[in-house]
Symmetry: C2
Amino acid sequence: MAGVSVGTVDRVLHQRGRVSEDANAKVQEVLKKIDYKPNLIARSLGRASQLRIIALIPNPEFDGYWREVQVGIQQAREEWSHYGVTVSTCLYDQEGEEAMEKVALEALKNNPDGFIIGPIFQSLAIPILEKLGDRNIPFVLFNANIPELNPLCFIGQDLFQSGVLAARLMDSKFTDEESILAILHVGEDIGESVYLMDKERGFREYFKGIKNNSKITVKSLNFNVPTHSIGGQIEILLSTPNLRGIYVTTSKALGPIASVLAKDPRKSEITLVGYDMLDENLRYLKKDVITFLINQNPKRQPMVGISHLVNNLLFKKQIPRIDLFPLEIIARQNLDSYLASSIH
Amino acid sequence: MAGVSVGTVDRVLHQRGRVSEDANAKVQEVLKKIDYKPNLIARSLGRASQLRIIALIPNPEFDGYWREVQVGIQQAREEWSHYGVTVSTCLYDQEGEEAMEKVALEALKNNPDGFIIGPIFQSLAIPILEKLGDRNIPFVLFNANIPELNPLCFIGQDLFQSGVLAARLMDSKFTDEESILAILHVGEDIGESVYLMDKERGFREYFKGIKNNSKITVKSLNFNVPTHSIGGQIEILLSTPNLRGIYVTTSKALGPIASVLAKDPRKSEITLVGYDMLDENLRYLKKDVITFLINQNPKRQPMVGISHLVNNLLFKKQIPRIDLFPLEIIARQNLDSYLASSIH
DNA sequence: TTGTACGCGTTATCAA
DNA sequence: TTGATAACGCGTACAA
């Protein structure tokens, strides 16, 4: 249309230089006239280059949340395989042979094009992310953010607001009288997990704005012990008079807590709110022991993260710096609709 | 790899016949060995044919719900434009020059490859769908289903369960005492809209299973009048003693109802539950006049519908007969997270 | 500074 | 019944 060859058009499109003013102008004009949009699909066809992505997540052996994450990574792998993208998963342990740093260094040897990382131990993650920064390897974080190390993008949720929402869901008929509400941080080192504090702050904030807030007492507890041995501590908690609600800030150990509560005669008066649609949680949601779950979308977080990486690295698209997921409320009554839906 | 030409492989892949037993076997074997998956991208590149889709929806002039639907169609149009798919929107009125049948017949003249239809008047839609069936033109329905005419696929929600959920969300501290709950069907001819009755049945069902159900009375009302003149009727309703909740079964006219309720001194004791994140609804959700919204995803319904159509017609993929969306609960506290999220 | 030629995986057409 | 070949939109290598 501009009377020049495809080579010239290509040079104009990608500003590779070596184009005369004249040709440039003619091409630009046509581009505008036809509102040219590149066909990203065709682009990926004609490309020789492969994109190698490393997904670095904790070993999900005994953790339903991270097992879901792994499923999401697998789905992303299939989704992008036709574009010449490979995604390798690297699992790390909290310490020992397979510690985060060792695993990451090993992965770096194949010099990959980008990382997607779920960092659960901040202090251990930082040196790695700094190294990636030095070597100019882009990375996307999900689940927990470390904004100072400026990831290409962060995928997660607004944790403060998540706490506010949990509080709202607890504000039921039973919190009308004198009430005690417990916040439970289970199974994570609270020092490492700044993000759990955001949830707690949000939770407390909600009740500041409520009418009968003088009647409500919020207590927070850290249960940093092996999951299977918290039964005793829960029973002590349940003996608290006027206990009306329990907010468990991680998906971990919600099941064990629910199992103890299920046997308590006061279970119908105690609202239990936690996170994520893990099998064990769903069992207790169906029995009305868990009142509400807030879905953190463990499967979609890495999927979207990988999709952002590909869009940026392969298709040179702009991607958001932060992508916060909706805070999905799951009750017994809408659970099936979430399980059945294909868009999930 | 099989020692035959691409032409032969193509014939095997698409079972076009005219292939010798021998060649067929050799190709099949290789396909299995390499776990062949077709590259949909390349397929759409090398295809001459265009796919023409007609979206047939009511004129959204004064209806926020259907305006959202239109936005979704527009997004789908952009999404698929690079695959040689065109989507034309046809609007119909309830009657007159632009009645559903006339518009549909007009659209048929360009013999399109498929339809996506939001049928709001069952009786008017049936003859059209029958004609499509006769002419073997596939169609996807959304919003309301008419299973007898076997659409290629139906996109929507479980309406009975939607009613159950609405009831659950109303079961708050205020329904502890003697309570009256009102179901409002607004702005639709209830005879045409069987689906509203499903919501009502679900709503009533919930309270059958509840402890103090003897104290709860559920009333249903049809407000089939111009939206702007229902103010008076609402005020009469609000004067009902012990009114504790209002469930509006359509997204229409939730705003006007909320605006009346907002001025009522008892607003904090009356739970108002309705549908969809329309601007007007969000205003009242933020003011705590509307307690919960259930999101029907007016934007995504047509998007997914069109995507199913394309996958089936262009890529010959299997698609579900029914695709039910999750029943998303929107409260003031998680509203922003839904508005901000890119995955929505 | 510009143009040509090829390849990506697939479909479609035509000749053998 | 089979195979050769052009085309789709793009990136890239190389020749002019």
